[in-house]
């Protein structure tokens, strides 16, 4: 059966500190992330046969990666799929290796947001000249409506809804406090989160991720060659991606209290990885908490919680470091911020480190040896891209 399961291994990864890097440009961040991956894997840059690189704002063609790294005349593809760009770059590399086209490839994602100060300005960066009549908006305006529809659908009182979201923020901030690469490494209290200034009602400051610079990188090879590089390589067990078609905007019966792209992407990934009950079978999940409401709906969309039961599971601590299924053990987008093209690879980096048992004070217990990384690009009020990688320990 075609697919990537057990055909691709991750043998090295790198991730910069996600931060306000006023004194580094995107090329510096790419060099830092890639060299950590080279050193982690022991691979010499000149042995890389092909590369994929993801960014939304900070580069154009393949040369944008070749230039800082001085990769010599190899094929390089730039991948752009909004916030899912990094995960999609990995996915393309998985298939190139699974197809037998290459043995050893590099994937790098990077974004430098602090030069503009915002994650995703209104409008489509690829077509700045349009009729310009449709609303321009930041993602938060759409995710605020996801929260509104979620609370409306499940008849959740606003205070209660705010509290559930705040609990997610508190959890992720706790995890981030244990992570030296996170932008925010401070704990917050429930009261702080609930009483923070509103950004787009009902979402407040601590419901939103930060605006950050960062880069992450991965080196992949054919699974049968992985042991030549290291013993504790990590295998790709499955992937899934699903793109929406503006369904929430053009279909008047679209409710908008969950994200169908995430449901569909997870079905594909679970099928390939052979996962029947993700809540029981996964040791951890790193998911796209661009806003706390996104993480809440992801619990349900990815089958961690039954529909409408996410809030109960939040209150029961299911997704904390010590819980049944730890989610966003590294602090998530909440504490890392969201340098768009880098995020999917940063999430994969955390799964990779956790499965290797190298996550330090935030290490979770590895039982099944399966971890999941998920990103969602776009917004729930028009549509987007859900993308998932399932990684596993070697046998």
């Amino acid at each position: 059966m075609p697919g990537v399961k057990d055909k691709v291994a991750i043998i090295g990864m790198g991730c910069t500190k996600f931060d306000e890097h006023w004194d580094k440009d995107v090329k510096d961040l790419m060099i830092d992330a890639c060299w950590e991956a080279f050193e982690d894997s022991g691979v010499d840059p000149k042995d890389i046969q092909a590369a994929w690189w993801s960014t939304m704002w900070n580069g154009d063609l393949g040369r944008s990666l070749a230039y800082p790294l001085k990769l010599g005349f190899i094929p390089i593809t730039r991948v752009e799929n909004r916030c899912a760009s990094g995960m999609d770059a990995l996915r393309n590399a998985y298939y190139a290796i699974a197809a037998g086209a290459y043995d050893l490839v590099l994937v790098c994602g990077a974004e430098k947001l602090k030069d503009i100060g915002m994650p995703s300005p209104g409008g489509d960066p690829s077509t700045p000249y349009t009729s310009r009549v449709d609303p321009t908006y930041f993602p938060v305006a759409c995710f605020a409506q996801l929260a509104q529809r979620y609370f409306y659908h499940w008849d959740t009182p606003l205070e209660k809804g705010k509290e559930i979201l705040a609990r997610i923020a508190v959890k992720n901030h706790h995890n981030g406090s244990l992570n030296p690469k996170a932008q925010f490494q401070r704990e917050i209290t429930l009261e702080q989160a609930m009483n923070a200034p509103i950004i787009s009602y009902p979402l407040g400051l601590y419901d939103a991720c930060g605006v950050t610079d960062g880069a992450a990188a991965a080196i992949l090879c054919r699974a049968d060659l992985a042991k030549n590089f290291r013993d504790d390589y990590i295998l790709v067990k499955g992937e899934g991606m699903a793109c929406g078609h503006y369904q929430a905007e053009i279909e008047d019966d679209w409710e908008g209290y969950y994200i169908e792209e995430n449901v569909q992407a997870s079905k594909l990934a679970y099928q390939e990885a052979g996962i029947k009950d993700p809540r029981k079978e996964l040791d951890l999940a790193i998911v796209h908490d661009c806003f706390t409401i996104t993480e809440l709906t992801i619990y349900e969309d990815l089958g961690f919680s039954p529909r409408g039961k996410g809030p109960e599971d939040v209150e029961a601590g299911i997704f904390s470091l010590e819980g049944e299924l730890p989610v966003n053990t590294d602090g998530g987008l909440k504490c890392f911020g969201h340098p768009i093209g880098a995020s999917g690879i940063r999430m994969t980096y955390e799964v990779y480190k956790q499965l290797q048992g190298k996550a330090g004070p935030r290490q979770v217990r590895i039982k099944s040896g399966l971890g999941l990384a998920h990103t969602f690009g776009g917004t729930p009020i028009d549509s987007g891209t859900g993308a998932i990688s399932v990684l596993g320990c070697r046998d």
């Binding site: 209104g122 009729s131 310009r132 009549v133 053009i250």
Partner: protein, 466 residues
């Protein structure tokens, strides 16, 4: 006999208490919202006028204003497109004078009489600015009036008309001026308004054979309420019973649209057989002898007109808001330029004209699903290129979800149309706190952005105006 077969008006929801300008000043003036101008107000008035009339039956549109947002580029075409008129029609802009509206009315009546058009729409709109701190600033209000002229079934017959042309420098604006200039009051009133309007009315009486006693109402442009009263008295009208209230304390002097808006206010109170004298002023005067027919009663209940629009209002909180809306405060924080970096471009506006101006969506001929923006492949049944266009601008809707954009402060949401279809659009003329899921909304034509010298117009949702 050629006459007025329908009327419509528009007054912005926003009013400014004159107290915000100077303590002791009376009443309120109507103020266009930050996304409104003479074009958008004209569209609203035309839609009020059309209520029940098929737009494809209209043979032409005359737009009149002294505050057209373009110096070179027709406005009537924008209004006609937004109102979904046919392409094989006559359109023209009448400009540069406070009587441009009545002159357009006269031209339209003549065209209908001559048989060159069966139905002609005339719309006048203005949003003039007085110098900050000036008396004029307090006097001026914003608004629009529309009349549909036709050969048959007139609600108001135009019995006679007479015009006077008068060269005088009394009220003007040069190409560089943002604010209206006026000469010293005594000169302009005695040698202008109070002299020229009676001259024109004299001519009208001669032509019609009617006398002042024949008129139940005298409807006139009024520089201010005092001067209108003075004019009425000089003519021999009883200001109390015969002069149409200039609505100074409710909306102010709405420029080119003013006398026509006051005519609508008079019609709202008129009954069959009533005779009205309409007079405008601005480098001369146009006057009309009008007689109301039975048909007026059929129109009245279906028009928001002046009364309906006056009742539905919100107050501007402070003068700074007014200055900001009229772009009289420094604009363009760096943050705006950084964050909203998409620009209007003429070719896409051209390509998408049917979905932009008349807000056409597509309805799948296979499964009946209405989709906006118009699609080529149906989102439900996936059939390709099997759609018919449907106009969504005149459909009511309900609010599905909403939020406030945190940088611009704009309200944005999903609106579900009655009869199917959904739009992702801005919501205006309302505060976030007043929005709720399921509330009824209607569409309103607004300026969504001004950039690269392009006034970019589109539809926004507003709470249904009473």
């Amino acid at each position: 006999m050629a006459g007025i077969i329908s009327y419509g008006a528009y007054i912005p929801k926003w009013r400014m208490s004159r107290e915000l300008l100077r303590r002791g000043l009376r009443g309120e003036k109507a103020v266009a919202g930050p996304d409104e101008d003479s074009v958008t107000m004209a569209v609203a008035a035309v839609r009020d006028c059309l209520n029940g009339v098929k737009p494809e039956t209209i043979d032409g549109l005359f737009f009149a204003s002294t505050t057209a947002p373009y110096k070179e580029k027709q406005i009537a075409t924008i209004v006609a497109a937004a109102a979904d008129f046919r392409r094989d029609i006559l359109t023209a802009d009448f400009a540069n004078s406070l009587r441009a509206g009545t002159t357009a009315l006269k031209a339209a009546i003549d065209a209908v009489k001559a048989g060159s058009a069966k139905k002609l729409m005339v719309v006048a709109a203005d949003s003039r600015l007085g110098f900050p701190g000036s008396e004029l600033e307090a006097d001026l209000g914003d608004g629009a009036a529309a009349f549909l002229l036709g050969e048959d079934g007139a609600a108001v017959n135009v019995e006679a008309s007479h015009s006077v042309s008068n060269e005088l420098i009394d009220i003007w604006r040069t190409e560089e001026d943002k604010f209206v200039r006026v000469w010293e009051d005594r000169f302009i009133q005695t040698q202008g308004y109070l002299k020229v309007v009676p001259e024109a009315i004299g001519g009208l009486l001669d032509k019609s054979g009617w006398t002042l006693k024949d008129f139940s109402k005298f409807v006139t442009y009024a520089p201010n309420p005092r001067r209108a009263g003075e004019l009425a008295r000089r003519l021999g009208f009883d200001p109390k019973s015969q002069l149409q209230d200039p609505l100074y304390e409710l909306m102010g002097n709405t420029g080119t649209a003013y006398s026509l808006m006051l005519l609508i206010a008079a019609l709202e109170e008129a009954k069959a057989g009533d005779r009205l004298l309409l007079a405008s002023y601005g480098n001369g005067s146009d006057t009309f002898a009008l007689q109301v027919t039975e048909t007026l009663e059929e129109i009245k209940p279906n028009r928001r007109g002046i009364k309906g629009h006056l009742e539905s209002k919100r107050l501007i909180p402070d003068y700074a808001t007014y200055l900001k809306w009229r772009k009289l405060m420094p604009q363009g924080m760096i943050i705006d330029k950084l964050y909203y970096w998409t620009y209007p471009s003429a070719p896409p506006i051209y390509r998408e004209r049917q979905r932009i101006y008349p807000l056409h969506g597509s309805k799948c001929k296979s499964c009946g699903t209405v989709q906006y923006p118009p699609q080529r492949v149906c989102t439900k049944c996936h059939v390709k290129d099997n759609f018919e266009e449907v106009r969504l601008s005149d459909r009511k809707g309900t609010l599905h979800s909403f939020s406030r954009e945190f940088v611009s402060g704009e309200l944005v949401g999903l609106v579900n149309f009655e009869g199917g279809g959904r739009i992702w659009c801005n919501i205006t003329d309302v505060a976030y706190e007043e929005l709720e899921i399921g509330m009824p909304l209607e569409m309103s034509f607004r300026e969504v952005v001004y950039d690269l010298g392009i006034h970019d117009y589109f539809w926004k949702a507003i709470p249904v105006r009473a």
